[in-house]
């Protein structure tokens, strides 16, 4: 078996006195494609946050809100994925005068999420689905091996979402994605982890599961 990429043991978290994660143990190995599932409020976003904080140097993050800088261009928003690996001077220069190589590299990433014509658009002017794809592109451009996403395709239709998930899988070794679309999760993930009220209640290979098996944990309680 591959070595672990992420290992959480007895991870707990609480907000304002309310416990949202109760001693979660979770090990994710390199190369795994993990879908985190569960009702809203189950603790997925908190767990995503813990995973990101666990190995920040290896994680490319797609946060739940697209978290774009609306006043900057799509190019600059995607370029931000690698700010930490460039000199400050280069970054400052790029704000006003981007280098050809950077423009080309970002354009290539944007093409993968279907946004190549929006390189110079203002991020704030894009639709919600487009903004989410910019956020994904930023993580793809970041390029770190573990891609962690909190509902990264929630604003896309199933077909677009599938294409974007496939792109993520193509270049990132390990995927940890909170998803709510059962069909997408079963199709693109190798392992399904279900959270309920701050505890892991199901952890199984996707091939062993189907929509019916996940329904009790996932769909509305009614």
């Amino acid at each position: 078996m591959a070595e672990p990429a992420i290992r959480l043991a007895g991870a707990s978290a609480s907000y304002g006195g309310r416990v949202v994660l109760h001693g979660v143990d979770l090990t994710i190995r390199r190369g795994e494609r993990v879908a985190l599932m569960g009702r809203s409020g189950a603790g997925k976003s908190t767990l995503i946050g813990l995973i990101q904080a666990h190995a920040p140097g290896e994680v490319a993050l797609v946060p739940q809100a697209a978290a774009l800088v609306r006043t900057l261009s799509v190019f600059h928003n995607v370029y931000m994925g690698r700010l930490d690996r460039r000199s400050i001077l280069h970054n400052l220069r790029t704000l006003a005068l981007p280098a050809r190589a950077d423009l080309d590299a970002v354009a290539a990433v944007l093409a993968r999420v279907g946004l190549s014509e929006h390189l110079r658009s203002k991020a704030g002017a894009l639709s919600g689905g487009q903004q989410q794809r910019v956020s994904v592109a930023r993580a793809l451009y970041n390029g770190r091996p573990i891609l962690v996403g909190d509902e990264p395709v929630s604003a896309l239709d199933r077909q677009q979402g599938g294409a974007v998930l496939a792109e993520m899988a193509r270049t990132h070794e390990t995927l940890v994605l909170a998803l709510h679309d059962v069909a997408l999760a079963l199709e693109h993930a190798g392992r399904i982890v279900v959270l309920n009220a701050g505890r892991i209640v199901l952890d199984a290979p996707a091939r062993d599961l189907d929509g019916a098996a996940l329904a009790p944990f996932y769909e509305t309680a009614a």
Binding site: G49, Q52, A53, P56, V59, A60, L61, P63, A65, A67, V69, R70, T71, L72, S73, V74, F75, H76, M80, L83, D84, I88, N91, L92, L95, A96, L97, P98, L103, R120, S121, K122, A123, N142
Partner: protein, 510 residues
């Protein structure tokens, strides 16, 4: 130059215009450092500042400063509240308020002094008149922005007063309180500055101390003033207000020698500020009109136009310098940049900077650097950058960064500044009018802006000329205010908070 095509044309274009305007203004500005040895003076100044001489502080001047501010702001805010009610409906009320606030409190004081002499009335009205205009506008904005949902569900037939008390006032009361407290802080600064022209506030002694180089006394006065401003939340409260107001009334300085107010007022209105050629002349007399034009033309060409030009030049440079200063200073007060220990220190610095009246900064800089535009630019930029930087710092702390956001300069350049830029422009456009009014006033200190000519006219006892010049200043301020509002609307930043007192979302209010 395709790479230079910035992705936010509105903001970027505006910034470029303003920058280009400031660079052009720099070409014609007088930036000569006349003092050959500012360092010796500066060293003596700093030497005095580290050894404040508290025993020399005239205690009554502190009391008068507070009393003038309490009564002036109280009267202004009260009148502003009454004017705010018809403000949105009445063009006349809006015009009157715009006029009241377009004239700087120092100019008001110079005019009022003609009638009321060096008296408490002059000091209080000089604050109350412009503040009534400002408060009316802002209170009216607060009422407009208020949540009206509660008003709509009131039973039909609810009386106007009941409706106001139940469904409106509770919603706006907190904003009113915040704004009025902020105005009080401004009122303290204004009162201090009134001392520079002779009213018996702390500014009177501060001016003497600076002029004669008694820097220990100056430092003590300033420290007392900072302490008053810094502790205002402790002693200006709902419960203390009646006591403060009554105590202020009782503590007002006795006017030495009574002016004959009635006669002075009549003389002022019917003689002094009436253009010289029209005095004792029939209004419809054509010859008098010709003389009026002959009188007015040189004032326009030799004083109003050059003065207005210099005022604009100074305001433009100061505005852009403020912008640069604010961008450089705000990280000092933002958690992500200055850290847990640095932030309180940064805040203290900016509170001190913003509590120092810009007129006083300019006065001191003038003593050190000699008479040119440089001291005025420095004073305006330091004071306003302190204010805008402080506010931007608070906004920066409210930003929701993503978990993997960069740090340091990368965070600053890619996340923080781009996100704050609209807010930043909104504040600057809002300060523009204020900077312009101050630029005009700095003429009294020797920079050739409109105030320079006002000072000359008053020295020559030509109050009619002074009135024309003050009117020109007011018209400029009103014009800049309108332009600023139009720009804010065009950039769609007119809904962002610009009231310097506005409680920010997420900020805890006391």
């Amino acid at each position: 130059m395709s790479a230079l095509r910035l992705p936010r044309p509105g903001y970027a274009a505006l910034s470029r215009w303003f920058l280009a305007g400031a660079l052009a203004a720099l070409l014609v500005a007088d930036l000569h450092v006349a003092s050959l040895n500012p360092w010796a003076d500066l060293r003596r100044l700093l030497g005095g500042l580290v050894r404040p001489d508290f025993l020399s502080v005239e205690g009554w001047s502190v009391v008068y400063t507070v009393a003038f501010a309490v009564l002036g702001v109280g009267l202004g805010a009260g009148a502003g509240f009454l004017l705010a009610i018809p403000f949105a409906r009445s063009r006349t009320v809006r015009g009157v308020c715009a006029f009241l606030r377009a004239i700087h409190e120092l100019f008001w004081a110079l005019l009022l002094m003609q009638v009321f002499g060096l008296s408490a009335t002059t000091g209080i009205l000089a604050i109350a008149l412009p503040y009534a205009g400002i408060c009316a506008k802002v209170y009216s904005e607060i009422i407009d922005e208020a949540d009206l949902s509660a008003l709509r569900v009131l039973p039909a037939g609810t009386g106007a007063v009941s409706a106001f008390l139940y469904a409106r006032l509770p919603d706006v009361a907190a904003s009113f309180r915040h704004y009025t407290l902020y105005r009080f802080e401004c009122g303290m600064r204004s009162t201090l500055v009134l001392g520079f022209i002779g009213l018996p506030t702390m500014g009177f002694h501060l001016e003497s101390a600076f002029r004669q180089g008694r820097y220990g006394e100056a430092a003590a006065l300033l420290l007392v003033f900072y302490a008053l401003i810094g502790s205002r939340r402790l002693w200006v409260r709902g419960a203390t207000l009646p006591v403060l107001a009554l105590a202020s009334l009782l503590a007002l300085p006795e006017t030495v020698g009574a002016t004959d107010v009635g006669a002075s007022l009549v003389r002022f209105l019917t003689h002094d500020i009436v253009p010289a050629p029209l005095r004792n002349a029939d209004v419809l007399d054509l010859a008098a009109l010709a003389r009026l034009w002959a009188w007015f033309r040189p004032i326009l060409t030799d004083q109003v136009l050059p003065g207005a030009g210099q005022t604009l030049v100074l305001a433009q440079i100061a505005l852009v310098a403020t912008a640069i200063g604010a961008l450089a200073l705000f990280p000092l007060t933002a958690r992500r940049f200055s850290g847990r220990l640095g932030r309180p220190a940064g805040r203290l610095l900016l509170v001190v900077v913003r509590s120092t009246p810009e007129y006083m900064l300019a006065y001191v800089a003038l003593q050190l650097l000699g008479p040119s535009m440089l001291p005025a630019i420095l004073a305006l930029a330091i004071h306003n950058a302190g204010i805008v930087g402080f506010l931007l710092g608070r906004h920066a702390d409210d930003l929701a960064y993503r978990a993997d956001a960069p740090t340091g300069l990368n965070l600053y350049a890619y996340e923080t500044v781009p996100r704050l830029y609209g807010q930043f422009l909104a504040y600057l456009l809002y300060r523009w009018e204020i900077i312009l009014r101050e630029s005009a006033i700095f003429g009294i200190l020797g920079v050739a802006t409109l105030g320079f000519y006002v000072d000359a006219a008053i020295s020559e006892l030509r109050l009619d000329v002074a009135a024309v010049l003050i009117l020109a200043t007011a018209l400029m301020a009103i014009g800049i205010d309108a332009l600023s509002r139009a720009l804010r609307r065009a950039l769609r930043i007119d809904t962002l908070p610009t009231r310097l007192s506005a409680p920010l979302p997420g900020a805890t209010s006391p």
